[in-house]
Symmetry: C2
DNA sequence: AGCCGATTTGATAGCGCTAACATTTTTCGA
DNA sequence: TCGAAAAATGTTAGCGCTATCAAATCGGCT
């Protein structure tokens, strides 16, 4: 008596025998029910239920050189932004037969390249990767991936395949313009990590201030250090030490903005009157802060679910017509940039959309 | 000419031919180098390098009924706590041949059970699951998993296999006792989500106040709603409306604590003098807040990396002697609970360890 | 030298599934 | 009613790897 290696689980042959058909018919009934007569289909379904049959992913992958795995490569696991994106991805894939293979590149293009190579060796059904700043080799790997590829978080003319995101440059421009319109004139910049997306927000900031004739490079405070609330405090303190007349700051993300707020509180600087503060991403806490903090709402969950949606369509052979999707952003103006006596006080009810 | 299904990638047979050995020897050289003579081993390594050979995971899984996949089931992707744990897990597995299969149970035991069944059908090398409150069927699945199982986040007498975490009850007791010692007498509780771990922190709170003769069930404010900073504000507002003389709150997590702080700021209640605030987890922002917020440091990253470490040891057949590891917690006393004129002001340099 | 056990290497036979082609059955227009 | 095309089902042959057992080689000891 041969011992089964798989621990006694029923195989497709068991189902076939019980349903009185050949195993290939079972395979078809499972994979492509349309191609099997209703009669047999029902018998097979019954047998599957009776035996509690679960197909073996590995055998399928080996035989068909295809898998149901969607590879996802993001630069950080702890960044709330990517957590939301991930949630969108997982939710989008929850009721399907797809599984997620998650890779953390830790903001390293080299690590990203390594992960990409590993993932591709497993012939994924699709790939979702963050950003557009892959190494040349990564780009090459993606182009020859042989599966749908969705780049997320950003917007660009030349996607490898598909793309969902928004323009960080435009978003940076949007916030900064708002600060100008709110009456601030000596607007600083607080940046951390300074990954490519952050750089583009800085570009938007710079452009907006140039247009307004208010740009002063000395007000840009940026560090490669990973972002944190504490860092937000430190950066604002530094900036104010160097440029004490700074009357507003655009913070590259909400953690820095929260840190800036705490720093103002500890230094007894009135927000928004002495200093205006704007963040980026509009995490949930921004609306709850006191004063509530202005930010830019980025549709992170939506990016994840749209990416999955596009990937699934492409897997099914129905590549979407629009290969680059701009999900846009919305400026959420709150108390932290509503200066007393400022002429322009946008309504909180009417968020401004970028692009 | 037969076309290869795998897209021209070299197989173990190609490596074998090039190295002048049989394929089984290559297999052994890769899996268990000790069992192959140094001579052949070197030839094989060279061939692997020359051909850029990467083993096919699926073929291996099919042939050996084993995989390198570590299944991880957590209740939330967006909760910072689990993000840190995950990072520990990914880092611990980064330089190995293991891969992570991540499942999000969304705090639903039923969903957890479903995920467990799916994961097990793929014969993982090990499983890491959050919590100890599995359904009976889940528990049964875990007990017959046929692979190492590590339960994380909590502590319990009866682990399925191995366990890494800390006592939430003891931690809740620790913070609450601190509030008592700091001179607070009408100490409220703010809770959200109220999953099993949260419940146990509440138990600790209750026990500590009972011991001090200060327990008042009316000061417990808990809701099944998922936690958020805004919710922290709302809960504190509710509590103060009902029990205006409340002089401190233990918040089930740092988001609620931050919300409580903002609520106090907006209502012009002095922290820590009028109201003391303590949180849980000690996220990075707690130290940066103004005033800095007292919290309990939970070693989340460490839980992830220890879990991986134990799982790997067990996979290698060296099950650790200690099957239940208590990573402990540390009370971080900060300004938010340092009442002016209070006799007892613990030094920030000497955190208190629970258990 | 000769023998035994240990070590190293190889041949064979699948693991559970599906691609590719073969065969049978059904459908339907002329 | 017949025949050709379409639809449904089956047969065969692997996918790339490893478990299992068999064979060859080696070292040490009498």
């Amino acid at each position: 008596m041969r011992r089964r290696r798989n621990g006694g689980r029923p195989t497709i042959a068991d189902v076939a025998k019980r349903a009185g058909v050949s195993s290939i018919t079972v395979s078809r009934a499972l994979r492509d029910p349309e191609r099997v007569s209703p009669q047999l289909r029902q018998q097979i379904e019954e047998a599957v239920r009776a035996l509690d049959y679960v197909p073996d992913q590995h055998a399928r992958a080996l035989a068909s050189a295809r898998t149901d795995v969607v590879g996802v490569i993001i630069p950080s696991l702890t960044n709330n932004v990517f957590a939301d994106v991930l949630r969108g991805i997982y939710d989008g894939l929850a009721q399907t037969s797809h599984q997620v293979q998650l890779g953390n590149s830790r903001y390293s293009p080299i690590e990203e390249e390594r992960l990409l190579a590993t993932f591709l060796s497993q012939r994924p059904a699709a790939l979702i990767v963050a950003g557009i700043d892959q190494t040349a080799r990564s780009r090459e790997l993606l182009e020859n991936a042989g599966c749908p590829v969705v780049q997320i978080m950003e917007l660009d003319e030349g996607p490898v395949d598909m793309m969902v995101g928004f323009s960080h440059r435009a978003a940076g421009h949007l916030v900064t313009s708002h600060l100008v319109e709110a009456g601030y004139r000596r607007i600083g910049f607080l940046g951390a990590r300074m990954d490519p997306r952050t750089q583009r927000r800085l570009e938007g900031y710079r452009a907006a201030l140039m247009e307004a004739g208010l740009y002063d490079p000395d007000r840009v405070t940026a560090t490669p250090t990973p972002s944190s609330v504490t860092l937000g405090r430190d950066l604002l303190r530094d900036l104010l030490a160097r440029m004490p007349d700074t009357d507003a700051v655009f913070c590259i993300n909400d953690d820095l903005a929260l840190g800036a707020l705490f720093e103002c509180q500890s230094a007894a600087l009135a927000v928004p009157d002495t200093i205006g503060i704007a963040g980026f991403n509009d995490l949930e806490m921004m609306a709850a802060a006191w004063p509530a903090l202005t930010s830019v709402r980025t549709p992170r969950y939506e990016i994840g679910s749209r990416a999955v949606q596009m990937a699934r369509a492409a897997i099914a052979g129905r590549r979407p017509a629009e290969r680059v999707v701009d999900v846009g952003v919305e400026l959420q103006v709150r108390a932290s940039t509503m200066r007393r006596g400022s002429a322009q006080v946008p309504s909180q009810k009417a968020p401004v959309r970028a692009i």
